[in-house]
């Protein structure tokens, strides 16, 4: 399983769309979509900081860890 990114849940709570959040954070829609669908291999601290700032949340609200046998991937909600 690994790291699960709960961006969908937080975006729905704050009623923010993908395009809107991408523009505010300063990344492309496709990059945010990569994050949302769990295809990302790495996340910059600056990006995480920007997302937390725009969604007014903590990193822990966005990230969850579930034990996996091997590998280290971010997977979607």
């Amino acid at each position: 399983m690994g790291i699960i990114f709960r961006l969908d849940r937080v975006m729905a709570d704050r009623k923010v769309s993908l395009g809107d959040l991408a523009a505010r954070v300063g990344i492309t829609n496709s990059n945010l979509s990569i994050l949302k669908t769990g295809k990302a291999k790495a996340l910059r601290i600056t990006t995480l900081e920007a997302i937390c700032k725009e969604l007014d949340c903590q990193p822990g609200d966005l990230l969850e860890y579930k034990r996996e046998p091997e590998g280290n991937t971010i997977i979607p909600d």
């Binding site: 945010l32 990569i34 990302a40 291999k41 790495a42 990006t47």
Partner: protein
């Protein structure tokens, strides 16, 4: 570069067809007059080739066809590779496969032609393939870093 390779492919193909037909005529048909006309009659290598048994002469045909086919494959794959580079597609699995295939074809070519330098170039290409493999994984990591 891909335009140059494109033209080279056609030149090699036409040259191979023309050269092959000429060689076929010279070696297999009794055209002594033409041989003299192109000043080959006094050439010892030519005489040796001309005096080979017919079976051996016929065996030379697939050998040269194989060489031409391998050369055309190398040119075609190089053309695709340079086209990818031109389109900014550098560190991708498709390019890794292309470089590996070119390297393998050159190994076969070096064995058929007994050329050590071709073998060295093919080994360098296989080495380059490993470099591109690493580059591809780094590129993928970069592309998937948000």
């Amino acid at each position: 570069m891909s335009v140059v390779l494109n033209i080279t492919w056609y030149v090699v193909l036409i040259g191979a067809i023309g050269g092959g037909l000429f060689l076929f005529a010279m070696l297999l048909l009794p055209l002594g007059g033409i041989t003299e006309a192109v000043e080959l009659a006094d050439d010892p290598d030519w005489q040796r080739m001309y005096n080979l048994p017919l079976a051996l002469k016929i065996l030379m045909v697939p050998y040269f066809v194989a060489l031409v086919v391998l050369l055309l494959k190398i040119i075609r794959k190089s053309r695709v590779l340079f086209q990818n580079f031109r389109d900014d597609v550098v560190f991708r699995p498709s390019n890794v496969d292309l470089i590996r295939e070119i390297g393998k074809i050159m190994i076969v070519l070096s064995i058929l032609t007994f050329h050590l330098d071709t073998l060295i170039v093919s080994l360098l290409l296989l080495l380059l393939c490993e470099v591109f493999k690493t580059g591809t994984s780094l590129q993928e990591e970069h592309d998937l870093t948000v």
